[in-house]
Symmetry: C2
Subunit: 356 residues, 2 copies
DNA sequence: CGGTTTTTGGCAAACGTTTGCTATAAATTG
DNA sequence: CAATTTATAGCAAACGTTTGCCAAAAACCG
């Protein structure tokens, strides 16, 4: 029954349930129940079976089980390629927290990369329709869809994280982007700032809309016109957050009437932007206040330490997993809710009142 | 044959090979061959089958196939929890490059977390012995091993990355840690530095041994004693690279005879260290030259821009995958070679000749 | 045109589990 | 103690593929 035609006896791997059954002197089905359905089998035989299983180093075959029960125990996380770079600071935290929560629930985490090409879409669809995965957490606004097959109606439970896709019928775990940016902008206004520089990521995406919206709301509330803010970036598509900041610094240099406060939509761009404008002779926060989004640890050690809006990504990850596992457990799918986990500003020295 | 007892007709998912066969008017086996073994079936019937498959939106069930052929198509990457934080800067790059290479080879990437606890070890072993994964790339020096089952003799092809584990019989893809550090130390010596401060990660691990060894080699070559270098850190276990730097700065402050050059074993620690000593009034590189390891993009935007030894992690990832897929392809396992991909110093303004 | 090779397609047996159903043994009851 | 219930364990049929083997058909050859 052991397929290792290896060296000596000692089956280092490959013990089957049948082997365990034989060693324990019971039927295969009993072994199966003993291992999974504790109540269904006599305590004494169960002990015998467990002993046999341990002795043989038996590990149940996941694919056989998966095939039989018609479900896998892996969850995929769909990451747009750009994220790896653009928000690289938070990706590891997201993965870590999601993976940890999943494992507690008995699931595994598989990574799926979603790029612009059809290949990566097809690949994800294969995973979804091929029964390889049981659910998905998606960090992209685009749902893969290639000739007829679409992730949207794959029947797969999906929850969106970072981006609000409740409109598309997906449970979404997001932070209060708009509000957080509105508040920090209001605070800058309160400090006396009147001209702003907004460092955008990909234009028109959810984050851009929400965060820029937050800026505008704050301006309006203070009776300031939309012209008080200058947008930069928005085209580079996050490929490297750092590049956006560098380019924005050039933009900034061209401006005749300089803004006094900068609002960046990721820490990376803030960091490179600050570096460049400092080189141009500007002082932070003397000449220019800077605040950004993400809350990466490195901000604390910049000079000056960077104020940043910290996204609670660990908690968002945990929540996303909770929602996903709930959805998997339920028979009928619950309404697509938008769960908000609040970000909070970490105020540091990069913010001050404008000079005069 | 379709198990969706859903609404209308339209099977949105769940088309089986049998369905395709029926629609194409052939036997199941023919469909299987048409899809996988192009040569084995007539071009005309193949076209018919492809059309049918497309029309039904057929996606082969991965678990059924996996069970039948006895192999899965997923590779796991084993990450020690500490890495997520300690070298967070490079993790996304590693994952990205590995995943990309794997997908090209038709494989998927699963994440496995290796912490200090037995649970995570058991979990990894279950993955390995349960036939869930076909191979592993490990970024930890510890091979999971729990009551009898050990990853080492799971029969699973494994390649180690970042750490040299060729002694343990694992193919290893590493960079020339020792040499790179030796060279940069030699360069610092050439510039006139005589007293060094070494910022260590976990003491005694491969990286520590190699890199610190590189420092010592350079010292010896220049006729300097081991006392020329002061070690700091080594206990915090990388949990947060930043913390190590902070604490090291305190260490540094206590020193009566200050070193003039700092060699850090990760960018994170260098960044936080620099931040703290600058706050103490020291100037970089005026009072202190700094160089670190990793090559994270953010170093370019520190003030001053940080010299760093860039590990070619993307290339290392690709290479690791190549080796792994080779090993999977081969019948007998090849010798455990140590493949070295050279790092290179990115010299920036944080290095200069010492003052006096 | 009969005989031989080559293509092509089908049957059915795996792969290692889970689970509905049934059979037996043990326990309970009147 | 017979009759009924309950606990326990076994048989065998799935799950959706792949693939060895065989048969039929087609192509080739002398």
């Amino acid at each position: 029954m052991n397929k290792n035609k290896d060296v000596v006896g000692e089956e280092p791997s490959g013990a089957l349930m049948a082997d365990v059954a034989r060693l324990a002197g019971v039927a295969i089905s009993t072994v199966s129940r003993a291992l999974a359905n504790p109540g269904r089998v006599n305590e004494k035989t169960r002990a015998k079976i467990n002993a046999a299983a341990r002795q043989l180093g038996y590990t149940p075959n996941a694919m056989a089980r998966g095939l039989r029960v018609g479900k896998s125990n892996v969850i995929m996380i769909i990451l747009p390629g750009s994220l790896y770079y653009g928000a690289s600071q938070v990706i590891p935290q997201v993965l870590q927290s999601i993976n940890k929560s999943l494992i507690q629930g008995g699931y595994n985490l598989m990574i799926a990369n979603l790029d612009r090409d059809e290949i990566s879409e097809r690949h994800i669809l294969d995973l979804a329709f091929g029964g390889s995965v049981r659910g998905a957490i998606i960090l992209s606004s685009k749902l893969p869809e290639v000739d007829g097959r679409s992730l949207a109606n794959s029947g797969l439970p999906i929850v969106s994280m970072l981006l609000d896709m409740s409109d598309a019928g997906l449970q979404s775990v997001v932070t209060n982007d708009r509000e957080a940016v509105r508040d920090v902008t209001a605070e800058l206004i309160r400090l006396g700032h009147r001209r702003f520089f907004y460092l955008a990521g990909p234009e028109g995406n959810y984050h851009d809309v929400e965060r820029y919206g937050g800026v505008l709301e704050a301006l309006e509330a203070a009776g300031l016109s939309e012209d008080s803010v200058h947008r930069s970036g928005g085209h580079l598509d996050y490929q490297h957050g750092f590049d956006i900041g560098v380019q924005a610094a050039d933009d900034f240099a061209e401006l005749t009437e300089k803004p006094t406060a900068v609002i960046a939509t990721s820490d990376d761009m803030a960091i490179s932007f600050v570096s460049r404008v400092q080189r141009m002779g500007l002082s932070i926060p003397g000449d220019l206040s800077v605040v950004s989004f993400d809350g990466s640890p490195v901000c604390e050690f910049c000079s000056p330490p960077l104020s940043t809006i910290k996204q609670p990504v660990e908690e968002m990850g945990r929540t996303a997993v909770d929602l996903l596992l709930d959805a998997i457990g339920q028979r009928e799918n619950t309404a697509a809710v938008r769960t908000v986990i609040r970000s909070s500003l970490i105020p540091r020295e990069s913010i001050a009142a404008p000079k005069s």
